[in-house]
């Protein structure tokens, strides 16, 4: 179980450009953190660095309470690239995501029901609307229980009803001891604190 995540004196670079440096903050179970900042400030890169995909120039991201090798199994990353293949059906993609992240087919079915995807599951992914596609990507968060959710612009293509529903799901995750780090431009639909990136 993650007891704390420390981001210590972190500096990230994309290509030749230094995005930010000396970024320090701490998150603990039950926290929802909204990462704010201008376009290109480095919010997405910060999420990828926390996920362990991006190597920092300086500083570190430390997961307390779990082994360093176990961090990838403790998190879901929902980026703006959703990794869904247009030619496969929604169910094939959701089932794969569930089994790949250590969940089960039953978990995938329950997640589909929660996000009201049942009637869409036989469709090819390329036939889904942007909002439906985002809901399919979000269903992955529920297929396998993992404590840390890293969300990149989770609200963008959703209508107001689904923004509220997503807010409920996120609040439930946080209430159950989960952690959410979300890069956003609009406020998150649940109580959260903000961390400014690249200020």
């Amino acid at each position: 179980m993650i007891s704390r995540i420390l981001v210590e004196d972190l500096a990230l670079r994309r290509g030749e450009r230094l995005l930010f440096e000396h970024l320090t903050f701490t998150v603990a179970p039950g926290d929802a953190v909204a990462l704010t900042g201008r376009n290109g400030a480095g919010k997405t890169s910060l999420l990828r660095a926390v996920a362990g995909l991006l190597r920092p120039v300086a500083g570190r991201v430390l997961f307390e309470g779990i082994e360093p090798e176990a961090t990838a199994d403790a998190l879901h990353l929902l980026g703006h690239l959703d990794g869904l293949k247009g030619g496969r059906t929604a169910w094939e993609e959701l089932r794969f995501a569930a089994l790949w992240s250590g969940g089960s087919e039953d978990g995938a079915r329950a997640a589909a029901t929660t996000l009201e995807l049942d009637r869409l599951l036989t469709l090819e992914v390329r036939k889904l609307s942007a909002g439906q596609r985002r809901r399919l990507a979000m269903a992955r968060l529920l297929t396998a229980p993992r404590p840390l959710w890293l969300l990149d612009e989770p609200l963008a293509p959703l209508d107001s009803v689904w923004r509220a529903r997503l807010g409920e799901l996120m609040a439930a995750h946080v209430a159950g001891g989960g952690i959410i780090l979300a890069a956003v431009h609009d406020p998150l639909p649940l109580p959260s604190r903000g961390v400014e990136v690249g200020a």
Binding site: H80, L81, G83, G87, L99, W100
Partner: protein
């Protein structure tokens, strides 16, 4: 093991839709076999003499064709992030992808290779060895080719770059397999060529996943 089995199923389906399967393999060989007489002349003796080597080299070239999309598509649509964050090591992921590539594209080509050789007049006694070389060599081509595809990630004109990276690495297996075929055609002992080919394949299968995973980590960074 469950996640890896699931991944293999998905990769097989994707490799199939990328141009694997028996029909494209047979069509490619049919096209090449039709062109060959125009290039080297239509005399049956000449065609029969080059047929086994032609079938073998065509396999190496055909293995290059669908490589570009092996990692590139996953890199572009974010799947590579998902795979890197899964419960299995990235080395295993890369090995599974190459294995699926071999099963979907390499096996049909290995079946087509001896057929093409026989159609061009090669003695039927050579066909089993052509098949065996194509089967074993195809596995090496898939893994070495996957290495090229991973190294070319994120570059423009990846296909050309893959060919440039991979073709020199194809030289040893092509030499070993071609040597075995020539030896058998001349009635000489041929097993050493096949053994060297199998050794090269084993090394490619064992080592290239390490390099592929490193290249993928570098690409998502």
């Amino acid at each position: 093991m469950r996640p890896l089995a699931t991944l293999l199923g998905r990769e097989l389906a994707l490799a199939w839709s990328r141009g694997g399967g028996p029909l494209p393999a047979l069509a490619f060989y049919a096209g090449m076999a039709t062109l060959l007489p125009f290039a080297v002349g239509p005399e049956p003796e000449r065609l029969a003499a080059v047929a086994p080597g032609f079938a073998w080299l065509t396999l190496a070239l055909a293995s290059l064709l669908s490589l570009e999309r092996l990692f590139e598509r996953d890199y572009e649509d974010g799947t590579l992030d998902l795979l890197a964050l899964g419960s299995a090591p990235l080395e295993a992921v890369c090995a599974i992808k190459c294995l699926a590539q071999w099963l979907a594209a390499g096996l049909p080509l290995a079946v087509a290779a001896p057929l093409a050789a026989i159609a061009l007049g090669a003695p039927v006694t050579l066909a089993p060895l052509v098949f065996l070389c194509a089967l074993i060599g195809g596995l090496a081509f898939a893994f070495v080719g996957g290495l090229g595809a991973a190294l070319a990630l994120g570059s423009r004109r990846g296909g050309l770059l893959i060919a440039i990276i991979v073709l020199p690495l194809f030289a040893p297996p092509v030499i070993f397999g071609g040597g075995a075929l020539t030896q058998l055609a001349a009635g000489l002992p041929w097993t050493s060529g096949l053994a060297l080919l199998a050794g090269w394949t084993a090394a490619a299968v064992a080592l290239s996943p390490l390099a592929m995973a490193a290249a993928c980590r570098n690409a998502v960074d």
